[in-house]
Every structure is written in structure tokens, then in C-alpha cells.
């Protein structure tokens, strides 16, 4: 900015206009930043206040159903679905990532990379509907844990594969060469040398996948169904409850207690998702600076 000193001639109209436009521009940018961050803080605030005020022991001990009950079935369902989805997604995702990073130089791998980016951008409802047609109608599983877990796994695998690939590529190739020089086989190099060195990145990807599967709703509506009871132990033919369904449906109920349950569910979901994302970012940042 031009500081007006006695040496300078008075500002012309053009200069004045430029300065004013610049100031206004900065103000606009500041307001924009504020408008982006304020809703986040408001969301966290609203959900936390309402969620905490709905807090009670019943939340953890009773199933949903009626208006005086808890969220036990939903919490258990979310945990079970997430665990099953991760059990399917982690081996496949990390395997695909290893393949892309270590052997991925041909046209085929570029095609896989492109397709996995496309799959990442596919609306989750489309995947959910696909699972509905294939698993629920086609295989006749009915709303079930297996269908829900597989759907979420399809959703997570591309993320996991790309993050694993990036992490593995950052391992210096001198480490690989050193291992090969010691007479290690391909498998030994990948699993004993490269993968441990890239473990932080792989764990990051897994955690982000976990956050996605806890927060997803749309694909589960068409696959998991809903149940007022805890998980029956069956993988097919028995619907499962999950937390995000509570948020979606209970907020439309007329009574205050349903709203309280919806906020409590939202609070738990948000807590898990934000905790994972914040910790991942802090850890990754520390590594970058080190």
C-alpha cells in the first residue's frame, strides 16, 4: 500500500479508487473466510450442546423404539458394520495400493488409477442402489449386515488404495535396492521393508476409511435396513441398526425426545469423524515438518 508521505504528490482519483477497491477486496475475502468457517463452528456447537443435554445412561443400555429409550442397537450396529467393512476393505485396498505403487507402470495400472478416481467420485447412493439390486434382490439376502459391509467396503477401497500408493511411493527406492542386494525376494521387500516404512500413511488411510464408514448414510439405507434390536449375529436376512439412520429419521419425529436421540447420535458420529480427521491431520503435519 502506498503510505502517504509528504514527499508524494496527493493521490489521484485513479490511485484512490485502486486503494479503495483493494481494501474492499480484502474485506470481502475476510468475510468469505468467516462465512466458510462460521457454519462449521455453528454445526459443532449446535450438535454438541443438544447432544450433551440428551446424554444419559439409558443411551448406552437400551434399544431404540418408543420415545424413552436409548441408542444401544444403533451404536452396536454402527460398530459391527464398520468392523466388517474394514475387514473386507483393508486387505483389498492395501493390496491394490501395493500393486499400483510397486508394479504399476503399464497402461493397465493407469487405467486402474483412473477408474479408482472415478469410483471415488461416484455418488454413494448409486453404490447403495447397486448393492440393493445385487445383494438384496439378486442374492435374496434381504436387508443385512453382509450387504451393508460390502457396500461400505466398495466405497472405502479406492481411497485406501490411493493413499497406500502415495505412502509407498514416498519410501526411498534405495531402501528397496538395499533389500534386493541382500538377496530378498519381491514379497520380502514389499512386506518386510517397504510396508513397515510406509505404515504411518497406510494407517492414515485406514483411519480415514473408518471415518467414512461411520459417517455414511445413503448406501446403508438400501442395504442395512433398520432394526429396533441389537445385532442377531446373522450376516444375512437380518437388518441392522446404525447411528446415522437415527439422525435422519428421528429429527422428523414430532416429539422432543426423538430429537434428543437424533442429536445424541449426531454427536457421537461427529465426535468419531472429527477426532479421526483432526488427529490424522496433526500427525501428518508433524511428519512433514520433521
Amino acid at each position: 500500500m502506498s503510505a502517504s508521505t509528504s514527499l508524494k504528490t496527493p493521490l489521484t482519483a485513479l490511485e484512490l479508487r485502486r486503494i479503495i477497491v483493494s481494501k474492499l477486496g480484502w474485506v470481502g475475502c475476510g468475510v468469505a473466510l468467516l462465512l466458510v468457517i462460521a457454519p462449521l463452528l455453528d454445526i459443532v456447537g449446535v450438535v454438541t450442546i443438544n447432544g450433551l443435554s440428551a446424554f444419559s445412561v439409558q443411551l448406552f443400555t437400551k434399544n431404540t423404539g418408543g420415545t424413552t429409550n436409548g441408542l444401544l442397537n444403533a451404536m452396536e450396529g454402527t460398530v459391527v458394520i464398520t468392523i466388517c467393512a474394514m475387514l473386507i476393505a483393508v486387505p483389498i485396498g492395501i493390496g491394490a495400493g501395493i500393486h499400483l505403487s510397486e508394479y504399476g507402470r503399464g497402461k493397465l495400472s493407469n487405467a486402474i488409477r483412473f477408474l479408482s478416481d472415478v469410483l471415488t467420485g461416484t455418488p454413494s447412493i448409486v453404490l447403495g442402489y447397486f448393492s440393493y439390486i445385487v445383494f438384496i434382490i439378486g442374492f435374496g439376502w434381504g436387508f443385512s449386515l453382509a450387504a451393508a459391509a460390502i457396500t461400505l467396503a466398495i466405497l472405502i477401497v479406492p481411497y485406501l488404495a490411493r493413499i497406500t500408493e502415495l505412502a509407498l511411493q514416498q519410501v526411498p527406492s534405495s531402501m528397496r535396492e538395499a533389500a534386493y542386494a541382500l538377496g530378498a525376494t519381491d514379497a520380502t521387500v514389499v512386506f518386510k521393508v517397504v510396508l513397515p516404512a510406509a505404515s504411518a500413511g497406510v494407517i492414515t488411510g485406514t483411519l480415514l476409511g473408518l471415518a467414512i464408514s461411520v459417517g455414511e448414510t445413503a448406501p446403508l439405507i438400501y442395504t442395512a435396513g433398520w432394526s429396533d434390536f441389537t445385532w442377531t449375529g446373522q450376516f444375512t436376512h437380518s437388518p441392522v441398526a446404525y447411528l446415522t439412520y437415527v439422525i435422519w429419521t428421528f429429527i422428523d419425529q414430532p416429539d422432543a425426545h426423538s430429537h434428543a436421540l437424533a442429536y445424541a447420535a449426531a454427536f457421537f458420529v461427529m465426535l468419531v469423524v472429527l477426532a479421526i480427521n483432526i488427529s490424522v491431520r496433526l500427525v501428518v503435519k508433524r511428519q512433514k515438518f520433521a
Binding site: G25, F114, V126, G215
Partner: protein, 291 residues
């Protein structure tokens, strides 16, 4: 596995919606009426395909709803994210920049159902009370605002990364010509990152088109009527698929389930095209900047 999964998605959707495509024809995308027909009567057979009597499927309303809400969301999100990114890149002290940019990125990870909850609890009463002439907050505007919030971080972080990569020499020469700090940013730096910005916008558009839960919760779920104002209830393709689950299951001929899979296919193709465009734009942008 990944290509297999993707091909399987397309294949099953196409196979399953085959009958629906034959029955619906091209009217499908130009018809505004969605009528499941009389689900309790005996199915009738039209052109060898069994459907509930009176059934009639048209998705123009949902296509318009999707495009309108995403379009308005982009209109809101672009200035916001450009402002926020410029602010983060240039005006904010180095110490707190990581914190603020993390906050912006965190907006993107909030589950969409929580956005919907916030929309119902905060945004809908606000619109209903202050803006809407009918006092009803659910509708196009609410859906667009929620969508805009969800996609802003995508554009902003893409732009922020690009702005940080602008060579020092370009900034310094602009300063040396006597430009004010804001002119340096807006006239020297922004043109350099324009392609990246467009790529980010297209990427965000892809996300907005496919967004489901938040839109479902605040859009008012209008069917069979085209939106006439910012406050009209709408449905997007994605939210409509969710809302039709129950009624589709009640159809003994399964025709509505097949038609829904045709809708899912339409949505898939639209987002596929948009994402592919975004990918081409962003990868092309890197080449341009290196020259």
C-alpha cells in the same frame, strides 16, 4: 478388483434397468409426472412388460432439481471459496494459517447427514422466518445453501494449494510494478491458477450432483411439479432414490425398482462425465503452469 467393481456396478444397473428403459423410452427424461400406478390392482401388460395400471415414470423434475440446486450451490460457493482461499494464502499470519486451513478442510469431512440435521435445526427456521414469503424454509434455496457449504472446502483447498505454488518471481514483479497487494493477488496470481480453479469447481460440481442425505433432509421433497422459485420444494435424483425405497418395494411388478435403477444409472453417467472432466482439467492445469 477396482475396475471389476466399477464394471459390475454399470453392468448390473444396465441389465436390471433394461426392461424399464424399454418401457419408459425417451419420454423418461422429458416427462414431469412420476406415478407408481395402482399398486393394489392386478398388473397389466404393456408391450410384453408387466406394470401396475396407470404407472408412468418421468424424471424431468428431478433432473431440473439436481441441476438447479447444484448450479445455485456453485454460484454461492465459488465467490466464498475464492475469498477464503485468497485470505488463507495471503492475508492470514503464518502461525494460524494451518489451523484455519484445517478448519476449512474439516468442513468437508462433516457427514452429510449432520449437515442435514444442522439445516433442519438452524437454516430452515432462518429461511422460513426471514426470507421465504410462505414461511416455509424447505426448498431449493435451503438445499443450495447446504450444498454450497459442503463443496466450498473442495474448491477452496484446491485453489489454496495452487496459490501457494505460484512462483515468487511473479508476485515480486507485480509488486515492483506498483500494484497494491490485492491487485497482485487478483490480477497477477489468480489468472495463473485459473485452470486449476475451474478443475476444482467441476470436481465440486460432481460432489454436489451426487449429494444425497443433506439435500433429502432440507429440500422439501417436491415431485410432479417443476420448481418456480427459490423456495419451491424440489427433489434431486439422488434424494429421490432414497425417498422412493418404501413405495418401490410395494410394487408387485418390480417396475419401479427397475426404473429407480435407470435413474441411478443416469446419475452415475452424469457424475462420471463431470468427474472425468475435472480430472482432465486438473491434470492439464499442472502442465500449463510448468511452462
Amino acid at each position: 478388483m477396482i475396475p471389476a467393481a466399477l464394471c459390475a456396478v454399470v453392468l448390473f444397473l444396465v441389465v436390471y434397468s433394461g426392461q424399464a428403459m424399454i418401457f419408459n423410452g425417451l419420454h423418461f427424461v422429458t416427462n414431469i409426472n412420476w406415478n407408481l400406478g395402482d399398486l393394489y390392482s392386478d398388473p397389466v401388460t404393456v408391450n410384453g412388460i408387466s406394470i401396475p395400471p396407470g404407472a408412468n415414470y418421468g424424471i424431468l423434475v428431478f433432473i431440473v432439481g439436481t441441476l438447479a440446486s447444484s448450479g445455485i450451490a456453485i454460484l454461492i460457493a465459488v465467490p466464498l471459496s475464492i475469498g477464503a482461499a485468497i485470505c488463507l494464502a495471503e492475508a492470514v499470519p503464518h502461525r494460524i494459517r494451518p489451523v484455519l486451513s484445517m478448519l476449512v478442510e474439516l468442513v468437508a469431512v462433516v457427514p452429510s447427514v449432520v449437515f442435514g440435521l444442522w439445516g433442519i435445526a438452524v437454516l430452515i427456521p432462518f429461511i422460513g422466518h426471514y426470507l421465504s414469503p410462505t414461511g416455509n424454509g424447505y426448498g431449493l434455496l435451503a438445499a443450495s445453501i447446504v450444498l454450497a457449504l459442503m463443496i466450498t472446502p473442495i474448491i477452496a483447498s484446491t485453489l489454496l494449494d495452487a496459490l501457494m505454488q505460484v512462483p515468487k518471481e511473479n508476485r515480486e514483479s507485480a509488486f515492483a510494478l506498483g500494484a497494491t497487494h490485492f491487485e497482485v493477488v487478483s490480477k497477477a496470481m489468480m489468472p495463473m491458477v485459473r485452470t486449476t480453479l475451474i478443475g476444482g469447481i467441476v470436481l465440486a460440481l460432481g460432489r454436489a450432483l451426487g449429494e444425497t442425505m443433506a439435500v433429502l433432509m432440507v429440500s422439501g421433497g417436491g415431485i410432479n411439479i417443476l420448481p418456480t422459485s427459490l423456495f419451491s420444494p424440489i427433489s434431486t435424483i439422488a434424494s429421490f432414490i432414497v425417498s422412493q425405497l418404501d413405495s418401490a418395494e410395494a410394487d408387485p411388478t418390480n417396475m419401479s425398482v427397475r426404473t429407480l435403477s435407470e435413474i441411478a444409472l443416469v446419475l452415475f453417467i452424469i457424475t462420471l462425465a463431470v468427474n472425468a472432466a475435472a480430472k482432465l482439467l486438473t491434470s492439464g492445469a499442472l502442465n500449463v503452469r510448468k511452462h
